[in-house]
């Protein structure tokens, strides 16, 4: 086939965020051939996302250098369509499909936002919280727009800072957790002085606790948001609402490869190896913990995959320090029960197939829901409604299906049937 190529490498790394770059850097010392695959057109993952409105940190630039080493092949704008039998992945970019053969695989797939439904959440103008930050970094213009930020977690303040720097008028940052939790969170940060300094830098006088979105209102685009703040309600006119309820590990590829999950994240041992021999995982797909943890986990994975066991062990104490930070964040931003009850009967849960809560609430689990309504069968393959159904109904994540992402027919035809596992 014309636009199909076969590639091979010793170590394939999925994700060019902090974890993937650190893994590549650690593994590159051994002179093994490495392929780094990322679906974004530019490297950096979420926190180091590049774009016209970004002045990149020196550290991010430094880590990115690994991608131009002669032993490293970087495949940007490339998606993983399926795992083929026996250590091979089927990939596709905008022009070409690839079969990539690998000896070892390191999954550094990061996390996605927990995007929970509320009335009006499908209106243009409503995005995730980190999503707004990502769009601004990618060049979206928000200057002079009235922006409201809501949901939960430290990302709200980071997103507000990015929006403000881009000229938006941030009228409020609404955090669902309560004051007691926030004070404890702040005091606890004394153990991670760097994080405390970061929190001070990002802090906003518009930060409100025990408050959340009730509904987004507007005719074909967002015009206002109804907010609950403590026991009071208010309607605030705005152009954008950025709402995210924290992060959830991105486990689709790991599940497809047969790796076990634990606590909704990819389960790994001390050497970052998953339940599948030769497949490692690092960064936020193994549990949400910030970029510092992602970096050290990536380094451990890169060293372990190249047999540098002692060097990997030397990093365990440092990793434990950031694992404690991850637990600290998780403990203080747990969702209050009312957040899971924001959707009304007519609120859409599945944005791909436009399936409302009333249809799903009657079903027992994914199989029945898919048969009755096509929920989770649309373009996103249940990546948005899957984590919603887990939060709202306690359903486990749907089993990933091949192709893992919408793919071209030619790509699927390029591999023979016996290739497909």
């Amino acid at each position: 086939m014309k636009n199909h190529k076969t590639l091979s490498c010793d170590i394939a790394i999925v994700g060019a965020g902090p974890a993937g770059l650190a893994a590549a850097r650690a593994a590159s010392v051994s002179q093994r051939s490495i392929a780094v695959i990322d679906d974004n057109p530019l490297p950096g993952g979420q926190i180091w996302r590049d774009g016209p409105q970004v002045s990149q940190l020196a550290m991010a630039k430094d880590y990115r250098r690994v991608l131009s080493l002669p032993t490293v092949r970087y495949l940007p704008g490339t998606r993983i369509v399926a795992s083929l039998a026996a250590g091979a992945l089927l990939l596709e970019d905008a022009q070409t499909s690839y079969r990539l053969d690998y000896e070892q695989l390191i999954l550094c797939c990061g996390a996605q936002e927990l995007l929970l439904p509320f009335p009006g959440w499908t209106l243009p103008g409503v995005t995730g919280a980190g999503a707004l930050q990502a769009l601004i970094k990618s060049g979206a213009s928000v200057a002079g727009e009235r922006v409201l930020i809501a949901g939960s977690g430290p990302l709200l303040l980071a997103s507000a800072a990015t929006a403000r720097a881009a000229g938006a008028l941030v009228s409020g940052v609404y955090e669902q957790t309560d004051r007691y939790q926030l004070i404890n969170f702040g005091v606890g940060l004394l153990r991670w002085p760097g994080k405390l300094a970061q929190a001070f830098k990002l802090f906003s006088t518009r930060y409100r606790w025990r408050s959340h979105v009730i509904e987004a209102m507007g005719d074909r685009r967002l015009e206002a948001v109804r907010i609950r703040q403590g026991d009071a309600e208010a309607v605030i006119a705005c152009d954008r609402l950025a709402c995210g309820f924290g992060l959830v590990p991105n486990t689709v590829l790991a599940q497809h490869l047969g790796c076990s999950l634990e606590d909704n994240a990819v389960a790994v041992d001390r050497y970052q190896q998953t339940s599948q021999t030769g497949i490692y995982a690092a960064g936020e797909c193994t549990g949400v913990g910030g970029s510092e943890l992602a970096l050290v986990e990536g380094e451990v994975a890169g060293l372990a995959a190249t047999g540098k066991v002692e060097q990997a062990q030397a990093l365990f104490t440092h990793r434990a320090y950031w694992q404690r930070f991850a637990r600290h964040v998780k403990e203080h931003f747990g969702l209050r029960p009312e957040i899971r009850r924001l959707a009304r009967v007519d609120t859409l849960i599945c944005r791909c197939e436009d399936v409302a809560l009333s249809v799903l609430a009657e079903e027992q689990g994914w199989n029945a829901a898919k048969l009755q309504s096509r929920c989770g069968m649309g373009a996103c393959q249940g990546r948005i409604c899957g984590s919603i159904a887990r939060e709202l109904f306690g359903w486990s994540l749907p089993e990933p299906r091949v192709p893992l992402v919408p793919a071209r027919i030619e790509t699927l035809m390029a591999c023979s049937e016996k290739d497909m596992s």
Binding site: D39, N40, P41, L42, Q46, G51, P52, G77, A94, Q112, E113, L115, T122, P124, G125, V126, T127, G128, G130, A131, L132, Q133, A134, L135, S138, G139, A140, S141, V142, R220, R221, R351, C352, E353, D354, G378, A379, C380, R383, I384, P406
Partner: protein, 78 residues
């Protein structure tokens, strides 16, 4: 500066923007109509939700993960 055509209309912009960012420079940031006819715009910003799918030079692609190029033709999915 580069020129990109959105539904046939030229838009002039700096380099390095994603197609999703480019949509915010137009009158409406809508990327597609849903199966029941509701307008939708980029939502997750990171290649997960598929709300931003548009046709770029004849191929269905994600606006949030595609960089604008000189002379590119982008059609909303309506």
């Amino acid at each position: 500066m580069i020129t990109v055509y959105l539904d046939g209309q030229p838009l002039v912009m700096g380099e390095g923007l994603t197609v999703a960012a480019m949509l915010t420079l137009s009158e409406s940031s809508i990327a597609r109509l849903s199966c029941t006819g509701q307008p939708r715009a980029p939502f997750c910003g990171m290649g997960i939700c598929q709300e931003c799918r548009v046709t770029i030079d004849g191929r269905r692609q994600l606006a949030c993960q595609t960089l604008c190029q000189e002379g590119m033709h982008v059609e909303r999915t309506v």
